[in-house]
Symmetry: C2
Subunit: 158 residues, 2 copies
């Protein structure tokens, strides 16, 4: 009989194994696995705001900002004024950023390939669905960190 603890440990082990494998696949490019996640999100949809990056990367506003500063220093991304919302910043990949991203994407192809071949196609779908359910039930309202109690239903919108 599997317990919640078993599940937590399995999730932890799988995440870190994947994270390390990814990190290793990126080599000495000066881009970490976590930064690569941001690049991938931008490659998928350019010009989104930092806040959208925060939500899609399942991260934190301050953390994302710090990472973006590093990426900006390496000239991989740029942050422009948002067209309609003057509070927000529109984050885009630079030309160099896209090049580097595409190279790293290729370098890490083997990792994703291994992930897929470890499971049958329907198992992959199942795993993702179950992980999403876990994610939903664990979701906290990460916006107001001053809040004492969390809103039960802070959905994770893409």
């Amino acid at each position: 009989m599997a317990s919640g603890h078993d599940m937590a440990m399995a999730l932890r082990a799988a995440y870190w194994a994947m994270h390390r494998r990814t990190e290793a696949s990126l080599g000495q490019a000066g881009v970490t696995a976590d930064q690569f996640v941001l690049l991938a999100l931008l490659a998928q949809q350019d010009g989104i705001t930092q806040q959208q990056l925060v939500r899609r990367a399942a991260s934190d506003a301050n953390t994302v900002r710090a990472m973006l500063l590093r990426l900006e220093r390496h000239d991989l991304i740029a942050r422009a004024a948002h067209p309609t919302d003057r509070r927000a910043r529109s984050v885009t990949l630079t030309g160099k950023g896209r090049e580097v991203y595409e190279r790293l994407w290729a370098d890490s192809e083997a990792v994703r390939e291994q992930l897929l071949t470890a499971l049958r196609p329907e198992e992959t779908d199942t795993l993702i669905e179950l992980l999403n359910r876990v994610c939903e039930v664990m979701a906290t309202s990460r916006a107001g960190s001053k809040r004492k109690s969390q809103r039960p239903m802070a959905a994770i919108q893409a």
Copy 2:
């Protein structure tokens, strides 16, 4: 059609959601979620070596050592000479360590409960099994970190 990237992002999101929820559940006890993992492993089997903790926690020797030093400073664990292997250290929970652990285990019960109720029992088993498969295929030989370059197409070495 789910991709390896989708899977990676789902795994990442689920892990961090769980990690944050766990961290929050532990409150201001001065024990982090990662340290709690070590305490749980020791509660499960006391007197194991640091190396065993490294493997079971899916972590790193230096990292585990640093965490153990913190836990030792707080008098939650002790490290004694190993009975048969003089290289190794036998790590045990102190009385205080066990007390704190049991309190934190109770405090985090709601998180594990939520994990379980999010999924049907057979889904929990499935999730764990799929995560284990992911873990196996992502496993790297974490021993020799001196390797300079990772060969792109290295087979899975246990």
